[in-house]
């Protein structure tokens, strides 16, 4: 509470505000043009919306009129200057007006449809439903104006749109509830929206045509705002069209706040700050999506020096610090060397450093020892194992649909690719452009796994583009912009992939068929194969359609391809994707630090899709090397990377770590004795441990297939189950070895701490732990009994270590 007061007190004594008007330049074309202006006061660390408080005036009301709310409308040809004044501050904007008296008709595509969309008429629960509503069906959110036009004007015997008597059109009577309407009142008779529809009908209800201008981009003011809790901010959204013109569409945009705990937004675009943090406000208009970022700094006091002195190792740190500064969050301290080495080994290669490696690293004096460690890790065989496992999760390598030899050839191709650090675009191209024997080219097993065209198309979008298309298979995607038409255009890229039996069981031949289409289920004909938002390939071309796809997929301009990979890699190290969840990078899922995401993607593409370069960049940042320990300002931060996010070890990594520390490898039926869990090419290998610790089935491409939540079943398994207990009691493990070596309890504990926790025990720990072991010993009895008691004590101690949070979590 005190901190809140300090914060507001500080805000109150800031120097006078600097006032600006947005948009900075206004052209009003045509009699119906309008522009909502914003008067924004810059108060230094935060801003305020003075639009409703300022006094507005026009230098020439005969050219441009402005009302008390800052709305400018055209009156005559020419130029005028609009001024906003408050508290001795003022700002101006030049407004140019032309065509103020020119003839004008509302456009079906650019006005009527947006009005219907804003009123909710064509949403999924109303007439936009697959089957429409009460016999009247519109396309979902107006994605197909031509169809909607026919539905409105041609069907229902012209009652929906009555040219003879516009005001008796059902299209006006129903939504105003002049006659009963199941959907309730959607329009007020005196509104602009009513007038748009009425005047459009009166003008003869002109139909949409291919020459209509289309929305090319959206623009929002303010795109970013730092605001105080309780304050409000009007958003202004403009549509930029294909012909270069601009409209204020603020009234017709659909607004949603991604985090209502930070800010809410009403349907007029008015934001109200409700808490602390940052949220994206999503703006949807005419199938275009944009965000405004609303930041409400936490009520912390953080000195500027904290940000200035943060070691900026690369661009990642610049973006992170910029974000933290906006939010008033201080980053945690840097992690110490012991924490770093454990973290780096686990995140990069899925193994723990050995006790010797830890001691060596801690003793090393060179300033760049962390960078050197990273470089060494990236060359290890375990690095290849770890990432081959990860990409095998992604590509669903398993014996479920593949014979063992096929599974191995697919796995080895993936592992070799990791080993050579094959650029990610080449990795994808090898899959999508190859033909021939799957035994010779393991990548082609991808097509053996996904023999069905539709299944293939969906897996591609999930694995390589971080999007989900499934809904659009049967109807337009109810939540995204993808239509069923786009779905089948996309799927048709894969309709000529042939798979036939090869020379032996498990060998298949992938070839390009000369014919084969997938029909759109309603149109009952094939559509030209087209990547999402890409250029179509002619239906009659003989070339392998996949080549067209692969070129589009791996193009540097295909931002989803690189975002998908960057987000997955970032999430591996940082505990959370910049877009969350990690496999969802669609445009409508905003990132927690968009600038950083863009910069990482650009760097990745600029470096030729080099995955190791990306990993190196992330690991060398100070951000990655922060401690997991929270300070007073970042306790609740789990999104902005102000500290390292602790994460439970993946099941496979945890099992291998237990094997490593106990010196007792796991046994996997059918695999050589020393195989580690992370070296398995298959997730169907029997292992109760891996099962309860959330190993993915590799049935569907979905990051959520892997679970990292702790559960009671896991606790029961490590307490009572065979896996860990057998490792501890094994006669040939490290516990036995340490005892045979005749080491003191203190030495044994030190070694175990280095090997399990990658650090030395503290003095206090040593004392406490030695005392614990001492208590477990037998005072009397035979030497065998004494030896057995000591051994059991040690086993129990190692059990306690390996079930502790420090062991089970990467931190």
């Amino acid at each position: 509470m005190t901190r809140v007061l300090v914060f507001f007190a500080m805000a109150g004594i800031l120097p006078a505000a600097k006032l600006s008007i947005y948009p900075p330049k206004v052209d009003l074309a045509g009699p119906e043009a309008r522009q909502q202006l914003l008067a924004e006061a810059d108060l230094g660390r935060a801003q305020e919306d003075w639009t409703r408080l300022a006094e507005w005036s026009s230098s020439n009301p005969k050219v441009a009129a402005v009302d008390a709310s800052g709305l400018v409308t055209p009156a005559g040809e020419g130029e005028a200057v609009i001024t906003a004044r408050r508290e001795g501050q003022s700002a101006t904007v030049k407004v140019r007006v032309h065509g103020a008296r020119a003839p004008f008709t509302w456009s079906f595509r650019n006005h009527v449809i947006p009005v219907l969309t804003k009123a909710g008429c064509n949403q999924g629960a109303c007439h936009g439903a697959l089957a429409g509503k009460n016999g009247f069906k519109l396309t979902l959110r107006g994605y197909d104006p031509e169809l909607d036009y026919d539905m409105l004007t041609r069907q229902s015997a012209g009652r929906r749109v009555s040219l003879a008597e516009p005001s008796s059109s059902l299209m006006l009577l129903k939504p105003t509830m002049a006659i009963p309407h199941g959907g309730g009142k959607r329009l007020a008779p005196n509104s602009l929206e009513y007038r748009v529809i009425a005047e459009w009908i009166a003008a003869g209800a002109p139909r949409p045509n291919s020459k209509d201008k289309e929305v090319a981009a959206l623009e929002v003011f303010p795109g970013k705002a730092i605001l105080k809790p309780g304050s409000e901010q009007q958003l202004v959204v403009r549509a930029k069209y294909s012909d270069g013109s601009i409209d204020d569409v603020t009234r017709w945009v659909k607004y949603t706040s991604n985090s209502e705990g930070v800010a809410t937004v009403d349907e007029s675009g008015r934001v109200k700050v409700t808490g602390h943090g940052e949220t994206a406000v999503t703006l949807w208009y005419s199938s275009r999506v944009l965000y405004a970022t609303i930041t409400s700094p936490y009520p912390n006091t953080v000195s500027q020096d904290v940000y200035d002195s943060f070691p900026r190792n690369n661009f990642i740190d610049n973006h992170i610090i910029a974000k933290l500064k906006n939010l008033n969050i201080a980053p945690s301290k840097p992690a110490d060397d012991a924490t770093f080495i454990r973290r780096a080994y686990l995140d990069t290669a899925g193994i723990l450093p050995t006790a010797e490696e830890v001691e060596q690293f801690l003793a090393e004096k060179s300033a760049d020892k962390r960078s050197k460690l990273i470089d060494r890790l990236l060359e290890r065989e375990e690095f290849a194992d770890y990432w081959a496992y990860k990409w095998s999760d992604l590509l669903l390598v398993s014996s479920r649909k593949l014979r063992p030899n096929a599974m191995w050839s697919f796995y080895y191709w993936i592992r070799d690719s990791v080993k050579q650090n094959k650029p990610w675009d080449e990795f994808a191209r090898e899959i999508f452009t190859g033909t021939g024997s799957t035994r010779q080219n393991g990548a082609l097993n991808y097509f053996v796994l996904h023999k069905d065209t539709v299944d293939l198309a969906e897996n591609v979008t999930q694995a390589f583009l971080g999007q989900r298309l499934t809904c659009a298979r049967c109807h337009n995607h109810p939540l995204e912009k993808w239509t069923q038409r786009q779905y089948y255009q996309f799927a048709n890229l894969f309709s000529r992939v042939g798979v036939k039996n090869g020379s032996e069981p498990g060998d298949s031949i992938v070839y390009v068929k000369t014919a084969g289409e997938i029909n759109h289920p309603r149109l009952l004909r094939p559509l030209p194969p087209t990547p999402l938002d890409g250029q179509p390939a002619p239906l009659d071309a003989q070339a392998d359609r996949r080549l067209h796809f692969a070129k589009w997929l791996t193009s540097p301009d295909n931002v989803y391809f690189s975002r998908n990979l960057v987000n997955r890699v970032w999430g591996n190290f940082m505990g959370r994707g910049l877009s969350h969840p990690v496999d969802d990078v669609r445009a409508t899922n905003p990132a927690s630090n968009q600038e950083l995401f863009d910069a990482l993607v650009k760097d990745f593409v600029d470096h030729g899709f080099d995955v190791k370069h990306l990993i190196r960049t992330i690991m060398n940042s100070s951000t990655y090397q922060l401690s997991a320990e929270a300070n007073a300002t970042n306790q609740s931060d789990n999104i902005y990377y102000s500290r390292y996010i602790v994460k439970r070890l993946p099941g496979e990594v945890l099992l291998d770590a237990m094997s490593q520390v106990t010196g007792v490898p796991s046994e996997f039926r059918g695999y050589p004795a020393s195989t580690r869990a992370l070296q398995l090419p298959d997730t169907r290998v029997v292992s109760q441990f891996l099962e309860v610790f959330g190993r993915p089935k590799r049935v569907i491409c979905d990051a959520a297939e892997r679970s990292s939540d702790p559960s009671i079943t896991q606790a029961l398994h490590v307490i009572n189950g065979d896996t860990l207990n057998r490792k501890l009691s094994a006669p040939d493990g490290y516990v036995s070895l340490l005892l045979k070596l005749g080491l003191s309890d203190a030495r044994i504990l030190e070694h175990l701490t280095l090997s399990a926790f990658s650090r030395y025990p503290s003095e206090a720990e040593k004392q406490q732990w030695v005392a614990m072991l001492e208590k477990a010993r037998l005072a009397t009895g035979t030497p065998e009994a004494k030896q057995e008691a000591r051994r059991q004590g040690l086993e129990d101690f190692v059990w306690a270590m390996m079930t502790s949070k420090e062991f089970i979590f990467n931190h």
């Binding site: 999924g124 629960a125 439903a129 697959l130 089957a131 199941g182 949603t256 706040s257 991604n258 985090s259 209502e260 705990g261 808490g275 602390h276 949220t279 989900r468 499934t470 809904c471 109807h475 109810p478 939540l479 969802d584 401690s627 997991a628 320990e629 929270a630 609740s636 996010i645 602790v646 439970r648 309860v692 569907i700 979905d702 702790p710 559960s711 009671i712 079943t713 896991q714 606790a715 029961l716 398994h717 307490i719 009572n720 189950g721 207990n725 503290s762 206090a764 614990m772 477990a776 129990d796 101690f797 306690a800 270590m801 079930t803 502790s804 949070k805 420090e806 089970i808 979590f809 931190h811």
Partner: protein, 459 residues
């Protein structure tokens, strides 16, 4: 107003604290301390035992078609009424589909709400959210499952978890959205205990409930103590929800281990073969039987997911084309599976005197298109469907609401998912005005103000 705040100690009513203490003492067979048990049990005290109602929620994943199940339209045109015929039930005037002959004998024990609808996108995931939490997830807030709210407010009863989910969570149903099956903003500590096994598996058992022979109780206890001692030295995990959860899972595991009664609840093989067969020797049937055992052992809320996904599996999701299911499966497979499990459950709960304080609700996430599609199936239709509710304080043998002549929209008394949730909360004896601690401590009411339960279902 009752308000619970996770981070502050709650105001205890006096008598309660003592009772909890005794209770926890009785549990400490291994000298365990169970701070989790004290947690917020205060609130449960306001309900008298008579009102201590349980609930079994059968999630009919995939979404049954209203017309082919509990809201038949025999007089509609063929392309509407579909392939099945209605049969009479033991309650005059109530007819249901011929696919549920056993269920027809128990219509006095449950009621049908024939006018449920929702207005969100017609994808499975949104329906799962709304039916299990009462709300659509918006603005980044994940709402808690009703059973998790119950667990938060009343805590576990005895040694078993408050909320158990059988057999597995709902997986991929196409929308890539949360399904409303977790504790959401309440935190993972209130997530249900998930079985994650198939009770119809011949080797089914909850693994690792007891230490192996070679580990003495003394050593198990020493390990527990040492684990706590070692972990205490590390402070960096305090702000991690997952890390706190890890400790709570260990505590709960020890509780289960130390309770003969809790362990026995999972021993399905102790049921006579005849009883098991009555429920159906399949995943859903055996899960329903296990649900009964859970309630007997003291679990307050059991969620049973009839299916895990709608893809490549025969489910209620009868689009008529692959990878979904054909309409005929209602007769051949899914219908009988439900009929046997549901009927046996209701029968047995009745025979054992448990139906009086155990609600049983069976519901899908939406309805299906009135018109049969070209593939002979029916597609998604959230505008109108039927759910089954009974047991506890809920009346049986009645019909609430009605659909229009083709079951396309509620004609009478529309009921939305929030009202279904309110009905369950009311039935569970939870005051609808209770607020829960949301993100940054902001209170969130369990149902929005003004949402009323289905009063017709209460005597």
């Amino acid at each position: 107003m009752f308000r619970l705040d996770a981070d502050r100690p709650v105001e205890f009513c006096d008598g309660l604290r003592r009772r909890d203490f005794l209770h926890a003492g009785a549990l400490s067979a291994l000298g365990l301390t169970l701070p989790g048990l004290f947690r917020l049990k205060a609130f449960g005290a306001t309900t008298d035992p008579q009102k201590d109602v349980n609930c079994i929620m059968l999630m009919l994943v995939g979404a049954p078609s209203q017309i082919d199940t509990w809201d038949m339209k025999p007089n509609a045109p063929a392309e509407i009424r579909g392939p099945f015929k209605p049969i009479k039930t033991n309650v005059p005037g109530i007819e249901i589909s011929e696919n549920f002959p056993r269920m027809a004998k128990h219509a006095d024990k449950y009621s049908l709400v024939r006018s449920v609808y929702h207005t969100a996108a017609a994808v499975h995931d949104t329906g799962h959210q709304m039916m299990q939490t009462g709300r659509l997830f918006q603005g980044g807030i994940e709402h808690p499952h009703i059973g998790c709210v119950l667990g938060k407010l009343k805590g576990p009863k005895g040694d078993v978890p408050a909320h158990v989910l059988l057999p597995r969570p709902i997986g991929n149903t196409g929308g890539n959205m949360p399904h409303g099956q977790s504790a959401g903003y309440l935190g993972k500590a209130y997530d249900p205990f998930v079985l994650n096994a198939d009770p119809s598996d011949p080797n089914f058992r909850v693994p690792d409930m007891l230490p192996p022979d070679y580990l003495s109780a003394l050593r198990v206890e020493r390990r527990r103590e040492w684990r706590a001692a070692i972990d205490k030295t590390v402070s960096m995990f305090e702000t991690s929800q997952d890390a706190r959860l890890l400790d709570s899972t260990f505590q709960q595991a020890y509780t289960l281990m130390s309770s003969q009664k809790a362990r026995a609840a999972f021993e399905l093989h102790k049921e006579p073969e005849k009883v098991r067969e009555k429920y159906g020797m399949n995943r859903f049937g055996q899960s329903c039987l296990l649900a009964r055992r859970m309630i007997e052992a003291g679990v307050r809320f059991v969620t049973v997911n009839m299916f895990e996904t709608v893809f490549d599996e025969i489910t209620w999701d009868i689009h008529g084309s692959k990878p979904f299911s054909p309409i005929s499966c209602y007769k051949d497979l899914v219908g009988p599976m439900f009929d046997n499990a549901f009927s046996s459950l209701v029968e047995e709960l009745g025979e054992r005197g448990l139906l009086a304080n155990t609600m049983v609700v069976a519901m899908g996430e939406f309805g299906r298109t009135p018109k049969v599609n070209p593939a002979g199936g029916r597609d998604h239709w959230p505008q109108c469907w039927t759910i089954v509710m009974g047991g506890g304080p809920l009346k049986g043998g009645t019909i609430v609401g009605a659909s229009d002549e083709i079951a396309a929209a509620p004609k009478d008394r529309p009921v939305n998912p929030a009202e279904v949730a309110a009905t369950l909360y009311q039935g569970l004896g939870i005051d609808l005005r209770v607020e829960l601690p949301g993100a940054q401590g902001r209170p969130i009411p369990i149902v929005d103000r003004g949402v009323e339960p289905i009063h017709e279902l209460f005597a």
